[in-house]
Structure formats: C-alpha cells, structure tokens
Symmetry: C2
Subunit: 380 residues, 2 copies
C-alpha cells in the first residue's frame, strides 16, 4: 500500500430542501457580495434559482448574475466573467448548476489572482490564492462540487484541459438530489456513467490496497444498481440520492487513496474526442472509450481486471465483464461505438494527436499515437 495524503475540507450539505441554507453559509464566511454563475436557464424552471435568490436576500448578500455557461465550458466565457467579477468587486463566486458551471467557476476564482486564466491550465502559473467558491449542485456527475479540479476548453485552440489547486475546493456545496428528479433520463445516465468511469480510473491502478478496492467495488455496484432503479422509476428519491452521493464520492479522494493519482487514459482520450466533437457529451465519450481501452490493456495486469469482472459484473472472464458492461450501457441507452456519432477512422489520427498534446497518456500502459488509434479502432 503506497503512501498517500488525504485532505478534503469541503463542507457538504446534502438532502431535500437544503438549498435555502446557502445564504446562511455564505454569510457565516463574512461575505456580502457574490457573482452567481449559471448555465442556460434550467435553474429558473426547477425552482433552484428562486430558492438561491430568496436565501441570499434573506441574509442581505448582494449579488450579480452571470448566465451562459455551456456544457463544455469555454475559456472565452470564463474570461468575460472574470472581468465582471473584478469590476464588480465580488468577494466570492457562487456556482449554481452542474459540473460545467462549477468547473468554470473554479477557473474564474483561481484566475482572479493569476496573470491570466489559461496559464493555470497550461501549468505555466501555479495558483497561490483563489476567491472563495460556493456551489449549489443541480446535476450529479463530475464531482466538481467536492474536489479541487476543473476542466475548461480553450475555444480558440481546441484544447480541453484540466487543473487542480488546493485553493480551489469549494467552501460549501449544497446537494439537493430532489431537484434532479425531472432531469431527462439520459442526463441521469450520463452522470452515472461518468461516476462509474471516475471510480474505474482509480480502481484499475490497484495492487494491494484491499480497503480502497473494496470501497470502489461497493460504489461501482451501487452506481449500477441506482441507474437501473432510476431507469425504471426516475422519481425514486432514495436511489436518486444514493447515485448523487456515489457521484460525489467518486472523485472526493476516498476512491483514489493509495492509487497513484489514477489512470485517466480514457478521460484523456475522451477529452480529445469531445474537444473536436463538442456534441459528444463527456459521459458518452467515456462509455465508448472505456470498454475498448479495457480490451486493449487488460492482459498487462490481468489480476485487477479479472477481479473487476468478477466482483462488479459477476463475470468469469474479463471479456465477459466487458460484454456485460457494454450490454448494460446499451440497455441504458448510452453509446458504445464511435460510429453512433459518425466519427470515422480518418479522424482517429487527429484525436490521438490532440490527446497527446499535454503529455503522456496512460499509466498501466503508456499509450503512443498508434495505441490510441488502435483503441479508437476497437471503439469504432
């Protein structure tokens, strides 16, 4: 079991009717003016916006609203928002939305004290401070509400890159699973596939960390069970809540204990796909790439992939485990091949080059350009 450090200071407030606690939480941090960052307006339909505004007003917290965060959030919008945050002299960012909104909020909060936002993602500048960040989560998927990582797309250079900093943990995140019950079911499934992928990225790094492996198997089985139950009954609160909590835990730190930072080859390949094809949702790219990657690399570390097949999918071989996972994805309506998005073989070289732009891809097997093309061919 390798040495590790564990530190996650985020305060989570979880459950029904908890959104109205946001004003009190921000007030207790002596903050009197925030920038509220939001997406395209769904929070006005599901009642979240109204609860947030009521709570801020109750505690006398001044605010300005900034709308328009996109599903794959872009640098240009973050830069525009940063200018507003500076000119309005806000003391904190309040992200109200899903992972995209929270990710962009992290970029703005850290960018506030940086020469420019993209330098943080290029790693030419290391954050030394950030505006305090609060979040109200509306879609469980990326776990951005509980960790210090953010992903942003540089929309002039087609680069979808990530950063993390100890200054970027939200102070408080509110997760009310009941506001997710009217999401289109495919968004719930996307969130679940994303969660499953995050856990797998750590799990396959395992060697002798029985504690982490056992926790991760427990979470993977719970995610699969939760999605099955929600496909049958999208209004079931308890399964919705269980899925939401698994989603947060997947990237909270606990699943990565002693796992060397995780594998994340599939995330890197997926980021390249959706950087070049923004209509592919992150989770859709993952459900396509993961089975192909497992097929390509499992023989290099057979014991962990065999354990996964047995303990997560009740399958007696890795091949059977992959097949069961793909069948499950198909049953949920998640894509399992690039052809479903009309992404053809002549684009694979470009995707592979994009994935390699930021450096090495993969740990269980370090993937070169041809390896990535081979994986994309399996995923075709």
């Amino acid at each position: 079991m390798d040495n590790f450090k564990f530190h996650n200071p985020v305060k989570i407030i979880f459950g029904k009717d908890t959104i109205r606690e946001i004003g009190s939480e921000i007030h207790s941090h002596d903050i009197s003016k925030v920038l509220i960052l939001m997406g395209s307006g769904s929070v006005k339909k599901n009642g979240v916006y109204e609860q947030v505004i009521d709570s801020l007003e109750k505690y006398g917290i001044d605010f300005i609203e900034q709308w328009g965060v996109t599903p794959n959030p872009v640098l240009s919008h973050a830069e525009e928002t940063l200018e507003i945050a500076r000119s309005e002299k806000v003391q904190a960012i309040l992200a109200v939305g899903g992972g995209s909104v929270i990710d962009e909020a992290k970029a703005i909060a850290a960018g506030y004290y940086a020469p420019d936002i993209w330098s943080i993602f290029e790693k030419t500048y290391k954050p030394t401070n950030a505006l305090p960040l609060f979040t109200v989560l509306t879609i469980s998927a990326t776990a951005s509400e509980i960790n210090s990582f953010g992903v942003l797309t540089n929309d002039t250079e087609n680069k979808k890159w990530s950063f993390g900093s100890k200054y970027s943990y939200p102070k408080v995140s509110i997760i009310d699973p009941s506001v997710q019950k009217f999401l289109p079911i495919n968004q719930t499934i996307n969130g679940g596939v994303d969660t499953l992928s995050h856990i797998m990225e750590f799990y396959f790094m395992g060697e002798n960390e029985e504690s982490t492996l056992a926790i991760n198997e427990a979470l993977m089985r719970t995610v699969i069970k939760s999605i099955d139950e929600l496909v049958a009954d999208p209004l079931n609160y308890d399964w919705r809540a269980n899925l939401a909590w698994c989603s947060s835990l997947a990237l909270q730190g606990i699943t990565g204990v002693s796992m060397g930072g995780g594998e994340f080859a599939c995330h890197r390949i997926e980021h390249a796909i959706s950087a070049l094809h923004p209509t592919v949702a992150h989770a859709e790219g993952l459900s396509i790439v993961f089975p192909a990657w497992i097929e390509y690399v499992n023989s290099l570390k057979p014991h962990i992939f065999e354990r996964w097949a047995k303990n997560v999918w009740e399958a007696d071989s890795v091949e059977a485990g992959i097949e069961k996972m793909k069948e499950k994805f198909k049953f949920w309506g998640a894509p399992v091949s690039l052809s479903e998005f009309n992404i053809e073989a002549d684009e694979f070289e470009g995707i592979a080059e994009n994935a390699l732009l930021i450096g090495e891809v993969g740990k269980i097997k370090e993937l070169n350009k041809q390896d990535i093309i081979n994986i994309l061919n399996i995923a075709q």
Copy 2:
C-alpha cells in the same frame, strides 16, 4: 436516504517514514511552541519519539513533554496537563500515541478555553475554540486521529463520557503503519475489534442508504480479512496499512452518512463496564457486548441484521452470523463473555445504572435498566 452534513477537514499523511513530516506541518501553521502529550514510554522504544523530536528541532519548534496518559485516560491527568499548557504558554498540543493520548489531548485543547474540562463532557459548556491539535498515531483503533470526538474518565466519579466539537478536529494527523508492526498481537486485534464495532454502530441504523451500507460492508470484510492476515503474519505491512486505514475511516464520517448519528448502545454499555472495571480494554468490552446486543434486538429490525449476516459473514441467518462472529473473535483470542473477566451477575445492576447516567441508551431499541441487565446476562 436522510439529509446529512459532511465535513472533515483533517489532513492525513499516511505511510512509511512519514513521522518526520510533523515539524514541517506544525511550522506551516505558524506555531513555535507545543506541548507533546504521550503515554507510558513505548514511543521511546519504537523510534517514534526520536523521529518526532528530530523533526521539531529541525523546524525550530520549542516543546515541553508531558508523559503518563493511561489506557483509559483520566480527568485528573488532563487537568494537570492543562495547567502546564497554560503556564508554559504553548500554542498547540501534539499528541503522540494511540487513541487515549489523542482523546486526552482533545480534552486539554478544548479545555484551554473553557471554565473547566469536565463541563465540556457534562455538556454544561459548549466549546467555542480550542488549541490547534496535531497527532502522530501509534496504534490504530479509536479513529480519534481523524475525528472531533474524545472520551475521558472522570476518575473521582467513575464516569467514562465523550464529547465532540467542530473545534476538536486535528489539523494534521500522521499515520505510519510500520510503527505498529511490533505491537503485541492482542493490541492489533483490539484495534480491529474496535474498528469493526464502530462500523457496526452505524451500519445497523441503515434503511435505504445503499451507498453507505455497501461501503460499510466493504470495510467490515476488509477489517476481518486484515486481522486474519496479521494473526498469521504480524509483520505484513500491506495488511497492517489496510487495517490502519479502515480504522480511521470507520469514524471519519463516511460510514455514518445518513445513519442518524449511529446506534452506539454497545459503546455506552461498554463504557459502563470499563468505567467500573478499568482492566477491561475498550475492545474487549465490545467483543463481549456486541454479540449479546445483536441477539437481543435483531428481531426488531430483521432485514438489516439478516443483510449483515449474509454480506459480512456469509451466513444464512442472524443466529448463524452471530455464531460466526463469536467464533472469529475466539479464534483471534478476543473475549466473548463477561465471565472471562470474573464479572458476575450481582454487578449487572450497577453497570446498567452507570450506562444510563448520561441519558437514553440505544435507538433501534431504547434500553432501560432491565434491558441492559438482560443483555449482560446473555453476555455472561
């Protein structure tokens, strides 16, 4: 799934050769003088003391040493230490030892700003501040290194009571499992039984929190496996490390998510036993009481106890699960009956009254005096 809050700001540094990081961590909190609290001297034999002192000196941190914390730490020693902390004007407490040392350190740290220490345990005073606390753990068992709770025995009134405060989380805890490899095996087993008990205290409260239940089952199975492996090979680092991490996680918050604060009837009864019989180690009291309590209450909530029997013990009935647990305890050398300590039936009324001193005992079944006597009779 009930609403919950989750917030655990403790920074954990875990692994081999990590003790020498303590000086740097304390220094980074701008602290230049600490009181080191320790037990009876075992840290001078296993090299821990030397590593701590070297690290403090390297970072120019002044210190005074206070020895003599006992296995069931007592109020009189905490009060004596508090006087020293005040007169020496230390800025923080550094606990170097097991759960007893850390628990007493928490009482001193919170007591520093209180009218007196015991008022915190009596709940007549609620802490509003505490000295910063750092810990170097030498025995994994109580999880005190990762949470805000402490237990202390009022040695003039025979009361073993607990407290918790958001000011009582350690800032940093260092867990080097390799220093535990030369512990007598019965101390390792005690730590494991304590850990298992903590997880069960939350688990049996479960209803529909599949995520928490699945995590807790994963941890219980890992604890049992780890102890089995360490009984066979006490020097195995990986199993030692896995057990240590499970022990911390058991009371870190994650196992109690949406579990209503836990059951803790067995802990209350055990505290009464070891308050009156200080030679009974906490874990020894627990391995005696828990099987009896399960036998007494399981019919009130059969689904959760049946699930426990099946998923933790591979048993097809609660009775068979209890039997398997008792057989496992015996195999490890842990006691399963009060008679092993010559505690006789004529003392049961006194134990029951002691357990009830601080208020209601039990949630799945609220236990009155006769109930506790009945459980003690089963445990005879």
